[in-house]
């Protein structure tokens, strides 16, 4: 069994490594796919396993984006002059500066949102259900408006991230960002998979199923909720930092704190794939991305209508997501023992 698993992981890993060379034209889409999967997987920790529907994870994504770019610029040049529009000076990063800055930027982009999540989590993770959802929704919106007023990061002007240096030819930029996002995805997968195989996940599930009972059994639910959110924030920040560099231009509400798109998409992808499963968000994100790109090409101008129809179809026909649907259809493939006689009896009873 282990060997079989290993083969699957290895083949996905190899696919991931060769993909940008086999499909060079799709590097950007593949990088975005990786970022989307990271967002869906980390959202699933709250929304799926813990039962806390967060719309605020976009906060960490945006924060990571701004932090990474700011650090990358700030390490070598005065940040205020960089973002000031109409500045006459032109700053150019050397390749060494660019990569050093990006590496440090990514580290900051991951760690700071995690700390922020800890602080915010301490104060709002006491809320439950709809109250938590609305509160986190507010966080994302507020962050967008506030960052749109901070001059040093460009305010309404937006923030142009450092252009990729002249290094390694035309394809280098795409390959660099692809591998950044792919490595982050692998990292996220390993971390998420390993925490899902520990008691931690069981605690999260207990919180989802009945938080009061979990507490009564002596579990410090608050601690687990905060740690869970910090893990999500860490990887959301990382994904945001990479996305900032990939897009090349950060706008407060349209790119960074893009709750209307990314913030909703991450929820949608997790639900589409099947929340509360390891593979669900991954499949959901992939299917979603492919459909979105397809609609975009073939239904120009109507892509959101098509996307809307897709969402309606998902909600009606796959309320438990793709994984949930498969599980219902082929329970034995998920290792569930099915008593045929009993099953038939149930069907007949209906």
């Amino acid at each position: 069994m282990i060997n079989k698993n290993l083969i699957i992981y290895l083949s996905i890993l190899i696919f991931g490594i060769v993909a940008p060379f086999v499909f060079p034209a799709f590097k950007v889409q593949l990088s975005i796919l990786c970022v989307l999967i990271i967002l869906a997987m980390t959202w699933n920790i709250q929304g799926g396993e813990m039962g806390y529907n967060s719309f605020g994870n976009i906060l960490f994504y945006g924060l990571g984006m701004y932090l990474c770019a700011s650090v990358q610029v700030g390490m070598f040049f005065p940040l205020a002059e960089w973002t000031e529009s109409g500045g006459e000076k032109t700053f150019v990063h050397t390749p060494a500066e660019f990569f050093q800055g990006f590496a440090v930027g990514l580290a900051v982009a991951a760690v700071v949102p995690a700390i922020v999540a800890g602080l915010i989590g301490y104060s709002i993770l006491g809320l439950r259900g709809h109250y938590f959802a609305i509160c986190t929704l507010g966080l994302g919106v507020a962050a967008g408006e506030i960052s749109g007023g901070i001059e040093i990061i460009g305010a309404g002007q937006g923030f142009t991230t450092p252009p990729f240096p002249n290094f390694g030819g035309l394809e280098a930029r795409g390959e660099f960002f692809y591998f950044c996002s792919f490595v982050s995805l692998v990292l996220t997968f390993i971390v998420v998979k390993s925490i899902y195989s520990t008691r931690f996940k069981l605690v999260l599930n207990a919180i989802r199923d009945n938080e009061d009972k979990a507490e009564a059994m002596g579990i410090q639910t608050m601690k687990y909720k905060i740690i869970g959110w910090m893990i999500s924030a860490f990887f959301c920040g990382l994904a945001g930092g990479i996305m900032g560099g990939l897009v090349g231009y950060i706008d407060s509400t349209d790119v960074a704190f893009d709750g209307r798109e990314m913030g909703v998409f991450m929820v949608l992808m997790a639900i589409l794939g099947g929340k509360g499963t390891l593979w669900g968000p991954i499949i959901g994100a992939s299917v979603f991305h492919i459909f979105k790109e397809g609609f975009w090409t073939f239904f120009l101008g109507w892509q959101y209508v098509a996307l809307g129809v897709l969402i309606v179809v998902i909600v009606i026909y796959f309320p438990e997501g793709i994984m949930g649907w498969l599980r219902e259809k082929y329970p034995e493939r998920f290792g569930e023992v099915v008593d045929e006689a009993d099953r038939k009896a149930q069907v007949e009873l209906k």
Partner: protein
């Protein structure tokens, strides 16, 4: 563990899909020069995105029907691949990448708005794809050292500069009190910087300096302040929605201000939508049909106006005119370069010096057009309630006299 099989099948399906989905266009197919463009067909810039697209299409039609482009003794026609950037910079950057690496486009037209142009420029620059853009005016576009970016329009900081200077002049050369409200986006914030510069130079004082949200449909808070503090000039910029919101609420709240200066009035079809309420508004414009520039494709502004109206059923705002001009610039550059080599075309673009119906075009090293001034028009209505945009500044083209100060609402 059959679930693993499903996963394997799934990933192989993705792989298969990716490998078959590569549709490739070349830059020049047969007798067609294919240009790439991402414009906003949906989202907050959708109306201006459509003006941009119509402008492009009109010029493509005209150039193709008048003999096309002659390169190396052969005649070519223009064709454009469009995508919808959804008014979103992230999408715009992706689309630039997609047009270049998947559709193999080697020449690009710009999107609508400064923010989206800012997002696309790093990509086109990286691949050395010449981009002639007609709707990204933010000054910071031209200070990043981009070599392949050319803008046929005057930079954003000049938009309302004239208005402030005119107000100061009418005030006997003394500084004026300015109230301003700008949308939080790249373009409007740049217009704001232009006003700050003008205020500094003329010794004017800025007494209200508000920011408006991107989904702009209310600016009552600013207008209440304007009522209280009585500035000499009120400056508003927030694309089409900003212009419409300002006029609607100024009329509703009966705000009296001696001078109201805005951007995007003609794209918003202000005089059509708000009739007499929009009267006396001063609007910055890149182009106006009464200007006397000429070229051989569209003849002049009036003819362009008539032809465009016939083709699309509405009068062309300057966003359409400048978009049409972008194609004239491309045609001219292709013919002078006499080649499809990107570098040669780029050099030809840099050396552009021509007149179009839209204005003179000559690029500074930064890529902005330096030989075309902005014009200022005022919405003026006759007694029957028919409103028209009349150029009032600069004096060279003025077809009407500026009405200043704006009459109070109680006297209208």
């Amino acid at each position: 563990m059959k679930i693993k099989n499903i996963i394997i099948t799934f990933f192989s399906a993705i792989a298969l899909l990716l490998s078959t989905a590569t549709v490739s266009f070349a830059k020049v197919v047969g007798d067609k020069i294919i240009l790439g463009a991402a414009v906003s067909l949906t989202g907050k810039y959708s109306s201006n995105g459509v003006h941009t697209q119509n402008g492009y299409n009109m010029a493509v039609d005209r150039i193709n029907s008048m003999g096309g482009i002659k390169v190396g003794g052969k005649t070519y026609k223009f064709d454009i691949i469009y995508y919808d950037d959804e008014s979103n910079p992230k999408r715009a950057a992706q689309l630039a990448e997609r047009l270049i690496s998947q559709d193999k486009v080697e020449f690009m037209l710009g999107p609508y708005s400064s923010g989206l142009t800012k997002a696309m420029a790093p990509v086109t620059e990286k691949y050395g794809v010449p981009m002639v853009e007609a709707n990204g005016a933010s000054r910071s576009l031209f200070t990043k050292g981009y070599k392949y970016l050319f803008a046929v329009l005057a930079p954003a900081n000049l938009y309302l500069d004239v208005a402030i200077r005119t107000a100061v002049e009418l005030n006997g050369g003394k500084g004026v009190k300015i109230a301003q409200a700008f949308e939080q986006d790249a373009f409007s914030q740049d217009v704001r910087l232009g006003i700050l510069d003008a205020a500094k130079e003329t010794g004017s004082e800025i007494i209200i300096d508000d920011k408006l949200p991107k989904e702009l449909n209310d600016m009552a808070a600013t207008l209440v302040k304007v009522k209280q503090m009585k500035p000499d000039v009120l400056v508003v910029s927030g694309h089409t929605k900003g212009a419409l919101t300002a006029i609607r609420q100024i009329a509703e709240m009966k705000v009296d201000v001696p001078m109201l200066a805005m951007t995007h009035c003609d794209a918003a079809k202000l005089s059509k939508q708000h009739g007499k309420n929009s009267q006396y508004a001063l609007c910055a414009s890149q182009w106006h049909k009464t200007l006397t520039y000429k070229d051989k494709w569209f003849k002049d502004g009036m003819t362009y106006d008539a032809d465009f109206t016939k083709m699309f059923g509405y009068a062309p705002p300057y966003q359409a005119a400048e978009s049409s001009a972008a194609l004239l610039v491309f045609k001219d550059a292709f013919e002078r370069a006499n080649s499809f080599d990107q570098k040669k075309v780029r050099d030809a673009l840099a050396a552009t010096d021509m007149q179009t119906f839209y204005g003179n075009i000559k690029f500074a090293p930064g890529g902005q057009n330096v030989s075309k001034p902005m014009v200022l028009f005022q919405v003026i209505c006759d007694s029957s309630g028919k409103c028209e945009n009349k150029v009032v500044a600069p004096l060279k083209w003025a077809s009407a006299k500026l009405i200043h100060p704006v009459p109070k609402w109680s006297e209208r």
